[in-house]
Assembly symmetry: C2
């Protein structure tokens, strides 16, 4: 090995791309947060819960299942569900097969809310953003994001 730098460094191209990626990440977060707050009066994180419920085949999911899909802590979801139940977007019943678990389901109002927010999100954010990329870039992005995801959960494994 030629030399072992005491601190590993990124080459210029990678440093540059990382910086831009960070900006893009922050920008996307901001814009999504704002849209959901404006159209739904709730944080983006809450909307994600509604979306996974909407996508569930039986229309019902265990809380722990939702936690897993969204990388939420049980506590976070618990607080969120209390709020969303109060607001009437979600209902909760205890799982007949497991006394510890609860099943979440969208109320009719909840489903209506998703159907109000979702198309706007597509029209105002996803379309403009993804539409700005050409077909080749879309493929590239897909591959890059997949690679990043692999690298990341490699990291998560290292922590333990």
């Amino acid at each position: 090995m030629p030399d072992a730098p005491s601190r590993p460094a990124l080459d210029a191209a990678r440093a540059q791309a990382w910086r831009r990626l960070m900006f893009a990440v922050q920008g996307l977060d901001e814009v999504l947060e704002r849209q959901v707050q404006r159209d739904g009066g709730m944080p983006h994180a809450y909307y994600k819960v509604l979306v996974v419920l909407d996508a569930a085949p039986d229309g019902e999911l265990r809380m722990s299942e939702v936690c897993g899909r969204l990388h939420f802590s049980p506590s976070r979801l618990s607080h969120a569900v209390r709020r969303m139940e109060d607001d009437g977007w979600v209902s909760r019943r205890s799982d007949p097969d497991d006394g510890r678990a609860f099943l979440l389901r969208l109320t009719d109002e909840g489903r209506a809310l998703v159907e109000r927010i979702s198309p706007r999100q597509v029209a105002e954010i996803r379309m403009p953003v993804m539409g700005a990329l050409d077909d080749a870039q879309v493929e590239q992005l897909d591959a890059i994001a997949a690679t990043i995801l692999d690298a990341i959960d490699g990291l998560a494994a290292d922590d333990c």
Copy 2:
């Protein structure tokens, strides 16, 4: 049936890439948050303030300047600075040229903290992530992120 959908939709490739991008974004956030919390005992957002101060040529920046660079609200920064001043990472003096403004500066401890956190972030996150991409992908990512950023602040302009 080839009808004109009343709601604009994304083609499958773009929908797929968007989904993966969202996952990657969330994953990156989580991993950065965890690292800074672990190594610095503070939220990643606070660390960003330290970083921009560290990078400032004179070692000093106006709060409004920091707000601008990080897209922070004045309120958010104000709360953050109070905490970081209490913790001894940052000092604040009023701008001699403008009685309304304050100048922020890293304390020696603050600088030391950045120098403790930063190389770990490179070693544990940026290197593994960016290193997983080949040179072509790095260029592609840079271009894609730039395009996304353009699309996003096109959106911000629309809002007003």
